[in-house]
């Protein structure tokens, strides 16, 4: 097979795409390609991965302009004419080469009140939540997020308004909004309302299109819009 020509971002905010020639194999993923470059061609290349089997989300990068998990992206699906371009995730600062600084992504999670706050102690009985209840079904539909950053990278509103909390943080807030045990609902609705929150979502649905776990942050954000509407009309916001 003819070798693959892959352009990889080298540098930080300032940098260049450097081209490498990588041998082609059957069933080769983009992560395989990046790993080959770092191990055989240029040990100074910085990149992240962990499980390499599509469970952890660490290997998320921009491949030919789209955010994806590189371990689950087959080269023959994306290489155009034997060429490939790999860059760090969009909408986050670049530490070096393919490594994005995930701190702001998780800070937004915290700002959206994406942490559970309960009132029970170990002395209390278990909470009894039916998995079939409407609220639990809504939470379960959004609960599998592993915080990979792909949706945040795909979102144009985040690109236009860096303060926008973004799909992952709002999706997590939605799962907690639907958690009957949580006691921070009023603060959470205040945290997710307004220009920096759910009201800036314009339903582009890039998040839903790109999510590797097939979640729909757009659905959760719509739910938050309805919840904040009710709160505002009741004077609770």
């Amino acid at each position: 097979m003819t070798p693959l020509r892959v352009r990889i971002w080298r540098g930080g905010v300032q940098g260049v795409f450097r081209e490498y020639e990588v041998p082609r194999h059957e069933s080769q993923t983009v992560l395989d390609v990046v790993t080959h470059v770092q191990r055989q061609l240029d040990p100074t290349l910085a990149y992240r991965y962990a499980c390499r089997v599509g469970m952890c989300g660490s290997c998320a990068m921009t491949v030919n302009g789209r955010p994806r998990w590189t371990c689950r992206t087959h080269v023959d699906k994306v290489a155009q004419g034997g060429r490939l371009e790999v860059a760090p995730l969009r909408n986050l600062p670049v530490i070096r080469d393919l490594v994005a600084d995930m701190r702001e992504f998780f800070d937004k999670w915290a700002r959206a009140k994406g942490q559970f706050r309960g009132s029970a102690t170990r002395k209390d009985a278990f909470a009894r939540i039916s998995p079939a209840s409407e609220q639990r079904r809504l939470a379960d539909a959004a609960i599998e997020c592993i915080g990979c950053g792909v949706c945040h990278a795909a979102c144009d509103v985040v690109a236009w308004s860096p303060d926008y909390l973004g799909p992952a943080a709002l999706n997590r807030a939605w799962t907690l909004f639907n958690d009957e045990r949580d006691t921070a609902q009023a603060e959470r609705l205040r945290a997710v309302a307004g220009d920096a929150g759910c009201h800036s979502c314009h339903t582009h649905m890039s998040c839903t299109d790109r999510c590797p776990k097939q979640l729909s942050p757009t659905a959760g954000i719509a739910g938050l819009k309805r919840a904040t509407l009710k709160a505002a009309l009741r004077g609770e916001l």
Binding site: G65, H204, M205, T218, R226
Partner: protein
């Protein structure tokens, strides 16, 4: 295509909204002439104006289609077909454009 259908419908929705917002003051100014409308109406018979009028109606239909999609996504219970609303919006636009084109 790099972007999904919802992204394109949202873009058309925004661009048509901007165009309509810029068009409205001119539209209101024109209509504000009331009695003297006949002399101005003669001006509207030019083919370029007819095309522009058709264009404005298409933009309005596009904006309405996109807007109905947003309202459905935000207020109706979420189902997977919500994602196909982009197609419905586009169909509405085309339908309206055709209706007016046939009338003109």
């Amino acid at each position: 295509m790099r972007q999904g259908s919802s992204w394109w419908v949202a873009l058309v929705h925004r661009l048509s909204g901007i165009a309509l917002a810029l068009f409205l003051p001119a539209h209101f100014w024109f209509l504000g002439h009331g009695l003297e409308m006949d002399s101005l109406l003669k001006w509207t018979e030019q083919p370029a104006v007819k095309v522009a009028e058709w264009g404005i109606v298409v933009l309005l239909a596009a904006h309405l289609g996109g807007g109905l999609r947003v309202l459905a996504l935000e207020f109706l219970p979420w189902r997977d077909w919500q994602k196909s609303l982009a197609a419905v919006a586009a169909a509405l636009t085309v339908g309206c454009g055709l209706a007016l084109a046939l009338a003109l």
